[in-house]
């Protein structure tokens, strides 16, 4: 595993990150920090992680030159990093494999997770089945209604799905509830957080496990295009797929990094999840980062057509990349994402996840204004099978 410069020993990325939890959770986090520090450098652990990624997840995922789509723009060449081809259909599995291996080494027989759309829940349930661990997934009662298929998928895999009825009954409340479970059952339980947020060491650890995306991309772009892209684009909810592809590119200063948030019904409508574009710094879920909050510091409900981007916070390293100017963050509306979704289906025969469609939509905005020898690399973080219901509904179709 590759060590970045940040965070510092207590998990800070500039003013962001850190450990903002009740004293009752400190020991568990210290234990996790020590375990991760030990195993991230352990050749046997790294070899097992690499083996699982290759033989279970199906890595490396290919980089694909979307020629027809690029021709359609008449500008930059667009390449796609095909995380949608991973086992379980998204990048989420990279991280759950890593954390589950760590859980096994710590002797924890029970894993818990929070999930919004259900992708991280499915990835956790999958790896728990693979390793014979008990699995409990917390999911907002509202999300359970919206994502019935993924709930069933988790149950097929042997997980129990616990509906969360507090607060807005969505992802943020599921995260609160998973933390409460963890603090109560800390001896037996490993909490597998699904994104680059939460208290240290989670943002760093999840980033490291996901960085395989960017490391592969650097090699594959060299092979396929003979050079690195002018810009790397990825959607940002919590920000794990973006951190995964961005991180290895951070030292390559001539590669632009563009994070694409969900503008929902438009930033001015107030119904969006564009934390970095429209939020301000605060403390939530164990770290300091940008948040969507009201004037009194209460977290407010977010909106996006893609449940996976529907989160009022964002990973603290993204907050740092934004402030330091190393990465840019933009926002794409529901409608723009849907248009890109349909475009990719028709022109490339690839059905993207609605989350990833946000990054595709921004690529389709800038590609026409670029030269034909310029290159955009988009992280196609997941496949759209899970979104059939949402897209059909938008088109006025019921099954």
């Amino acid at each position: 595993m590759q060590m970045g410069d940040l965070p510092d020993d207590r998990g800070h990325f500039g003013p962001y990150g850190g450990v903002f939890v009740a004293e009752t959770l400190i020991e568990a986090l210290d234990e996790l920090k020590a375990a991760y520090a030990r195993y991230r450098e352990d050749p046997e652990f790294c070899a097992e992680f690499a083996y699982e990624l290759k033989h279970y997840v199906g890595r490396p995922s290919p980089v694909y030159h979307a020629r027809r789509w690029s021709e359609h723009f008449g500008g930059a060449q667009v390449y796609l990093k095909r995380e949608d081809l991973n086992h379980t259909g998204a990048h989420k599995i990279n991280n759950t494999v890593g954390q589950a291996l760590l859980a096994r080494r710590l002797g924890k027989k029970r894993v818990i997770a929070e999930t919004g759309a259900g992708q991280h829940g499915v990835a956790t349930a999958t790896i728990a089945a693979r390793y014979g661990m008990e699995c409990v997934v917390y999911m907002g009662a509202e999300d359970i209604k919206r994502q019935a298929q993924n709930v069933y998928r988790m149950k097929l895999l042997g997980a129990s799905v616990v509906p969360v009825e507090s607060g807005s009954k969505t992802l943020k409340d599921a995260l609160n509830e998973a933390m409460r479970d963890w603090v109560t059952n800390v001896d037996s339980t490993f909490y597998i957080i699904g994104t680059v947020a939460g208290p240290h060491p989670y943002p760093m650890m999840v980033r490291d496990f996901q960085s395989v995306i960017g490391r592969e991309s650097i090699e594959q772009m060299q092979e396929l295009a003979g050079c690195q892209p002018d810009a790397v684009l990825a959607c940002v909810g919590g920000g794990s797929n973006a951190m995964g592809i961005f991180h290895p590119y951070i030292p390559q200063k001539n590669v632009r990094l563009i994070g694409v948030e969900a503008a929902g019904l438009g930033l001015e409508s107030g119904k969006h999840s564009a934390t970095l574009c429209a939020g301000r710094p605060g403390v939530l879920h164990g770290n300091r980062t940008y948040l969507i909050q009201d004037d009194n510091g209460q977290i407010i409900e977010t909106h996006s057509i893609s449940a996976g981007l529907d989160y009022p916070g964002v990973g603290p390293e993204h907050a740092w990349l934004k402030d330091s100017g190393r990465a840019e963050y933009v926002a794409i509306t529901d409608d723009e994402a849907l248009a890109a979704f349909h475009n990719l289906c028709r022109l490339e025969g690839i059905i993207p996840a609605l989350e990833s469609s946000h990054a595709l939509a921004y690529a389709s905005k800038i590609a026409p204004h670029m030269k034909k020898d310029q290159i955009l690399l988009v992280n196609l973080s997941g496949r759209g099978d899970k979104d059939m219901h949402t897209v059909a509904e938008k088109s006025g179709i019921t099954f």
Binding site: R10, G18, V19, F20, V21, A22, E23, T24, I26, E27, A28, S166, G167, K172, D173, N176, M179, R180, V183, T184, V186, P281, G282, V283, L284, H285, G286, L291, Q293, D295, N296, G297, Q298, I299, I300
Partner: protein, 266 residues
């Protein structure tokens, strides 16, 4: 001498233990909050812990979660809670008021502005649940400079080096969390608490309160024999939830009196 220090000094002289009720400001409604504080004092409370509601109370169980939701629904903000404290102070200059809540509403107001406002409102202590000592150096310093006590949690799992770190920053009293888990959880191991408190006293020279898991006069009594203060929260909040708006003051008075009597019994 601060109100908190004076309160503990007086109790020590009387060989009594402090009773610290907690409830969420703005629950069941805005108009009842200050009357509830006065009713608790009349029923025998020594210090009032006033919860500042937050949309994402990660360390709280279902009872206090629901109470925070009611309070937010009623329009309670950090500013409102400071106003409640100031109003309480108009007729009570003796009983300490401690605010307990999460970091974000405070950071949203600004730490310095909050420290000044807390002092002006007559607040005596502030406990920020999701600020462990490492992350609270700035706020603790500002509070201390304005004569408001930064109050800290200590958990059963807190190691000695951290206890020392907390002891350096803490003023007023420390709050020992007697259970693993969230607020409102069940069962309490008194013997385990006794041993832990004896260990804490080596490093912590200010009073030690115990909270989490205290449900009735019996558990309150048991804890009062080993700690300097008994904090009771979820049980009171449950009573506030169960009581109709008209009966809440009476019901809370009866409950606090019962617990006071159990603690004071010779």
């Amino acid at each position: 001498m601060s109100r908190i220090d004076a309160t503990f000094a007086a109790l020590r002289e009387q060989k009594r233990k402090a009773l610290i009720p907690f409830f969420t400001a703005g629950d069941p409604d805005l108009a009842t909050t200050v009357p509830l504080m006065h009713a608790m004092v009349a029923a025998g409370a020594d210090i009032i812990e006033l919860g500042v509601p937050f949309s994402d109370p990660m360390a709280d169980g279902p009872t206090i979660q629901r109470s925070s939701e009611r309070a937010l629904h009623n329009g309670t903000t950090l500013r409102t809670v400071l106003d409640f404290a100031a109003e309480f102070r108009k007729t009570n200059d003796r009983t300490p008021v401690v605010l307990m809540g999460y970091a974000n509403p405070i950071e949203s107001m600004g730490c310095e502005k909050f420290a000044v406002a807390a002092r002006e409102a007559g607040v005596d202590g502030v406990l920020v649940v999701d600020y462990p000592p490492e992350e609270s150096v700035l706020l603790a310093g500002l509070l201390d400079a304005h004569g408001v006590a930064p109050i800290f949690l200590i958990a059963p799992t807190t190691v000695d080096a951290r206890i020392e770190q907390i002891a350096r920053l803490a003023r007023g009293y420390v709050y020992y969390v007697s259970l693993r888990g969230v607020t409102g959880a069940a069962t309490l191991n008194v013997e385990e608490i006794r041993q832990k408190i004896a260990q804490l006293r080596v490093r912590v020279k200010i009073p030690i309160g115990v909270g989490f898991g205290i449900r009735d006069g019996k558990t309150a009594r048991a804890v009062s024999e080993i700690a300097d203060a008994v904090v009771i929260g979820s049980r009171l909040v449950e009573e506030i939830e169960k009581s109709g708006h008209g009966r809440v003051l009476d019901n809370i008075s009866v409950l606090v009196k019962d617990i006071r009597a159990a603690i004071d019994r010779q």
